[in-house]
Structures are given as C-alpha cells and as structure tokens.
Amino acid sequence: MKLQRHGLVAALLAASALLLAGCGSDPVPAGGGAGAPAAGGPAVDCGGKENLSAEGSSAQKNAMDAFVQAYQAACPGHNVAYNPTGSGAGIKQFSAGLVDFGGSDSPLSQEKGEVAAAAERCQGNPAWNLPLVFGPVALAYKIEGVTNLVLTAEVAAKLFNGQITTWNDPAIAALNPGVDLPDTPVKVIYRSDESGTTDNVQQYLAAASKGAWTQGTGKKFNGGVGSGAEKSSGVAQAVAATEGSISYVELSFAQDAKLSIARIDSGSGPVELTAENVGKAIEGAKVIGSGNDLVIDLKGVYAEPAPGSYPLILATYEIVCSQGYDADTAKAVKAFLTVAATTGQANLADAGYAPLPASFQEKLLTAVTAIA
C-alpha cells in the first residue's frame, strides 16, 4: 500500500508535468503520454478482470477511446468495452449489473430512483458519480472579414433563439467596438441528433443569459431557428460552408475545420477558449456530492464564472460502485479509472476535451483509491 502511494505521487507529478506541457501551444505527442506511466513505476495496479464492460453516454465516447488506449498501454492484455448507447441506458445497465460501470451526462437522480437502484446493484453500498471527462464547447462562427468576435451569454442566447437576426445588430456591435460587422443574416446551425452537447449549451444559456433564453434545456435543440447538421463533424462542416453562420461544437472539431471561435465575456472582459482558461472554470466547479461522490454543479460555473475562465464546458460522469464489486472487478475498475484520471487525460486534448486540473485530479484519485 505504501509503495502504491509513492507510485501515486510519482504519477501525479508526472501527470501534472504533462498537464503543464499540455497547456502550452504544442500538444504533447501521444508517445510521451503513453511512455510516462511505465517510467513512473507501479502507479497503476494492473490486474483483475481482463475485459471490463461499460455502457452509456455517447458524449464521452471519444474520451473513453483515449482512456482505453492508455489503459491498454499501461496494462497489456486488459481492455474495456464501452458501448455508447446513451446516458439513460448506461445507468439502467449499470443498475441491472450488466456492465461494470456506467457513463452518464448527468449524475444518478434521487427522484427517478436511480440512486436506490444503483445502491442495490452495489450490494447495498452507494454508487459514486465520478466526473472524469470535461470538454469545452466552442461558439464557432463564420463571418466574412470577422475573426475576433466577442459574445456574452445573453447575446449568444438571443442569436440562438432568433431574437437577433443580423450580424450588425447593436447588441453585437456594442461588444465589438471597431469591428466592421456585416449586414448579413445570422444563420444558426445546431446539432440535429440528440446530444449532451446541446443539453449543456442550453443549460449554459439558461443559467447565464440573464433570462434571454426561455426555451428550456434538453438534448434536442429548442431555439426555434436555424438548421441542424448531424454530429459534431457535420456541424463544423456546415459552419465552414455557410456564410454568416454560428453554432456550438466541441473544440477539436472547430479547430479541425479552422473555424473562428468567439471569445466569451462573462463580465470581466473577453475570455478566449484555451486549455488554461477552461482549467480555471473546472477548478471553479463546486462539488455538491458528499465524500467521494463527486457530483458537480456546473450551474455556478455557468452563471458566475471565475474571472478569466471560459465557462462553456460540459462534464460527464463515470458511475461506479463504492463497494460491492467482486475483488477481480474492483481491481480492474480501479486500475482503469486510475489510468483514465492520470495518463489517459494527456490524450484528451486531441479528442476535443479538456484535461483535468491538478486539484480535481487529486479528488478523483482519492475516490478511485477508496473503491473497495
């Protein structure tokens, strides 16, 4: 156990070094991320069940792929099969004991009886919600001659629900002094498939727009205007092809399509979407769960973000048993989550998510270690 602790510290150091490196403009080469744990020693206690199964949110599918890759590098011969069937399905399958852990965009709900059902599956022990995956969402746009657009949540809400219809609207002009905004119509583009991204963006608009967003939340876009494109890739492609368009899409897709990304002014000046500014927002996320149940409340981040932080982020959870796994499964689950929270995070930037800040990583590792 002691040895393990040492290893843990070493891994933490290695991981934070990676994180710092990740904050620079150069992405960490994948090889470096995969090589580190081997050098770091026995941080990951490989072993137990060889093939874990998990199911749930499709929003974290790409992150899960990166985690599994890191897990296989750290623990050869071990694998996790993740089935992206949706958050609700993930919770259901987890509670039925059909998969080893679940992935969900929202924590277990007390009212829907999910907490009780999950506890029953864990032999009477509580299940924990562990937010392992954070992702920034970019407000991507294409306006002829404009590359440095600044928006507030309120103006974004009015764009997405059709209250602002042209780009030279006074509300936008007031935020962008000196920018020559064209007299062209605003073309909103949204995700036509149901997605956690849409849900988080709508929650953000509802919490931060000072009442401008009255369309509610949910996985389906409710703005009432615009055109839908399929999946993040379709959205990015549509924005790139449509003059005067604006949409929301995960960072990596916006970067790949070379789209302009709006800076968000939450009251303390325009904030650019960078890993550093996203990290500040994640650090500001309040844990509202008790003990190692790390349910977080992003509403605070959305409504009153820390100065200089980029608030439009989403979080998805892994749902695990605190106790009640058989020894083999527990060992493998802990190994996987340890990798996911440390070396696995290094490759996340490429997949469009944000690496965990060190403070949050520590909380997660404490929780993972406590799984029995």
Binding site: S192, D193, K219, A241
Partner: protein, 360 residues
C-alpha cells in the same frame, strides 16, 4: 405471383418472380429455356413440380423445405409487425399531440410526449418520389441501351459496372452528396428558386445549410436506386421472346418500333416492379439522408429546398440517446408507419402490374 392474369406475352412478374414467371409463351428458341421441368409441351404455369403422382422422399423433403422457407418469411414479417405494434402502442396512447397530424417530435420527457408523424411522412414521400421520378426514365434508358443498342461485348461489362454502383455504401453516397454534389447544385437550386419560385416545389426552403435539402437528397437517392431499377429491367428486357422481336422486324419495324411493339409491352410489369423495389429502397434509406438533410425548426412546406427528416433518418438521429421505453416507443411508432407505408407502396405496385398485365 402466379395468380396474376397471364395473357399472351407479358407474364405477371412480381419482385422475385421475374425470371420464374416468364417462360409461358408458346415456343421459346434455344438459349432462352429457363424452365425447370423438361416436358416438351409447355406446361401451364409451373405451380407443381413435375407430376403430383411422384412421391419420392426427396420430393417430399424438398417440398417441405420450400414451404418452410415461405412460411418463415411470412412469420418473420408478421413478428416484426407485431413487435412494432406492441412497442408503439403505449407511447401513442400517452401522446399529447395527434399522432398522425402533429408536426412536433418532442420525446425528451417521457411524461410529456408530443409527437406526430406528418412532417416525417411528407419528407419521406417527397424525397422518395422525387428520386423515383429522376431514376425511372434514366434506368429505362440504360436498360434499353444495354439490351437493344449496345453490342454484347460492351453490354456485359457495362452491366457489371452498374451493379457495382449498388455496392457503394450509403455513407459514401451521403458524404459525396453533401460535400461534392451540394456545392455543384447550388447554382441550379438558385436558378430554380429565382425563376420557378412561385410553384411550391421550387419555393425557397427552410434549410439554412447550402445544399442540405430534399433536392440534393433526392438526386443522391436517385443514383442509389438506379442500379436496382436498371439491372432488373435489363433482365426482363433481355427475355423478350425472340419470336415477338422477329415478327416485328418482319413487319418492317424500325428498332424504335420493335422496342415499342415488342420489348416495352413485354417488360412493362417487370420495369414497374423494379421501380417499386427502388422506391422501397428509397423509403428506407437512412445514413445518406441523415448526413445530407438539414434539421429544421419550422414545419415542412413541401419545397424541394426544405430540410427535414425522413422516418428512417429521424430514428437514426435519435437512437443513440434513447433512454426510456416510452420515448423509444415514439420512434418505433414512426417506424411502424414506415412499415405500413412500404406495404401500401408494394400493394399499389401489385395493382399497377396486374392492371398493366391485363391491358397489354
């Protein structure tokens, strides 16, 4: 398919019975013999395998096997229908909107389902019919070219080439449609909207993404169903009785007249059923349409330049995040309507074939 009126030349050829139902004409020159039985005088439609008196074990076993196959497919389709019905009914019962007339499809909250299939039905029908209208004449042209005009040395590889088109995965067609075809079609679409915009089909639509319209989707679908229409029609035309063709030629008919007098009447029912098979494919096409068609927040106006979703694409867009049985049931109900629609189309096709067979 054997109960269709079989008069003179054109056999009542159903979907799969094209080949089997054909050789019923009086004399067929060598090379066209396809009859399973060997009796020299042409038997009435080969319902019973040669001689009911024969009762060898192999015969009985074979009969049992084919009957089993037939029963299996009927049972399978019945089971699908039953499954859809059982899953759909609870959701339709708690639907807050009119299932048939509502244009909403809001299934987020299982306690407050609001969904209807009107827009899905309209988009599905419009995009499929548009595709069929484009593909039918071209498919007919290709089939005639291959059977009547092209030298055999060319016709064979050409035919293979068209069959290869059927093997292209639909996701490729979808990506090609939105990334390559849509930009090319933009000027055409602009011209149609500017000059024929008064007619509802060509009115400016509600799709805000260039080319992500029923128009583009229909053209892509037309390309996708072309091989089906072409290859079946070609097979049928190839089996035009030599005697009919020679008789027409003997009367001094030109090549076009031969086609009109002999080939087309003989092949019409096959051509129609080929087209209906293509329509069935178009109705059910999913991935290409989810990629091409833009999601919209306003009702479908009937314009070719609208976005929207078909039954199949709507289901594909939502199934990954379906969390509870009631919400899933709403989509299954939509699938049920598609099932019924496909049945209706096929029934219609049968009726058309039966009638055209009788007239010819």
């Amino acid at each position: 398919m054997t109960d269709l009126p079989v008069t003179g030349g054109p056999a009542g050829a159903g979907d799969t019975g094209v080949v089997r139902g054909l050789p019923v004409t009086a004399t067929i020159p060598e090379g066209h013999v396809r009859m399973p039985d060997t009796g020299p005088p042409p038997a009435p439609p080969p319902d019973e395998p040669a001689g009911a008196t024969s009762s060898r074990r192999g015969d009985r076993l074979f009969r049992w096997l084919v009957t089993g196959s037939g029963a299996f497919v009927v049972a399978l389709i019945g089971a699908i229908g039953l499954f859809l019905l059982v899953q759909a009914i609870p959701s339709v019962l708690v639907d807050q909107d009119n299932f048939l007339l509502s244009r909403n499809f809001d299934t987020e909250d299982p306690a407050n389902l609001r969904f209807g299939i009107l827009d899905l039905l309209l988009v599905t029908v419009e995009v499929s019919v548009f595709a069929l209208v484009l593909a039918m004449p071209v498919g007919l042209g290709i089939a005639l070219f291959l059977t009547q005009y092209a030298p055999p040395r060319l016709a064979r590889p050409f035919g293979y080439l068209i069959d290869v088109l059927a093997a292209v995965p639909s996701i490729i067609f979808g990506l090609w449609g939105i990334l390559v075809l849509a930009p090319v079609l933009e000027p055409v679409a602009g011209w149609l909207q500017a000059h024929l915009g008064g007619f509802f089909l060509f009115a400016p639509g509600n799709s805000g993404i260039a080319g992500a319209t029923v128009f583009t989707a229909g053209i892509v679908l037309a390309v996708m169903i072309l091989p089906i229409i072409t290859s079946i029609t070609r097979e049928v035309f190839e089996r035009t009785p030599r005697t009919h063709v020679e008789a027409a030629l003997a009367l001094g008919a030109t090549r076009w007249e031969v086609i009109r007098i002999a080939v087309l009447p003989f092949g019409r029912s096959g051509y129609i059923s080929a087209s209906m098979l293509g329509l069935g494919r178009a109705l059910g096409e999913t991935i290409a349409l989810t990629i091409i068609l833009a999601g919209v927040q306003t009702p479908f106006s009937g314009s070719l330049f609208d976005g929207g979703a078909t039954f199949a694409s709507k289901i594909a867009l939502s199934f990954a995040e379906l969390n509870n049985d009631l919400s899933a049931g709403a989509y299954i109900a939509a699938g049920l309507v598609l099932f019924v629609l496909t049945f209706a189309v096929n029934a219609l096709a049968r009726a058309v074939i039966a009638r055209s067979g009788a007239v010819a």
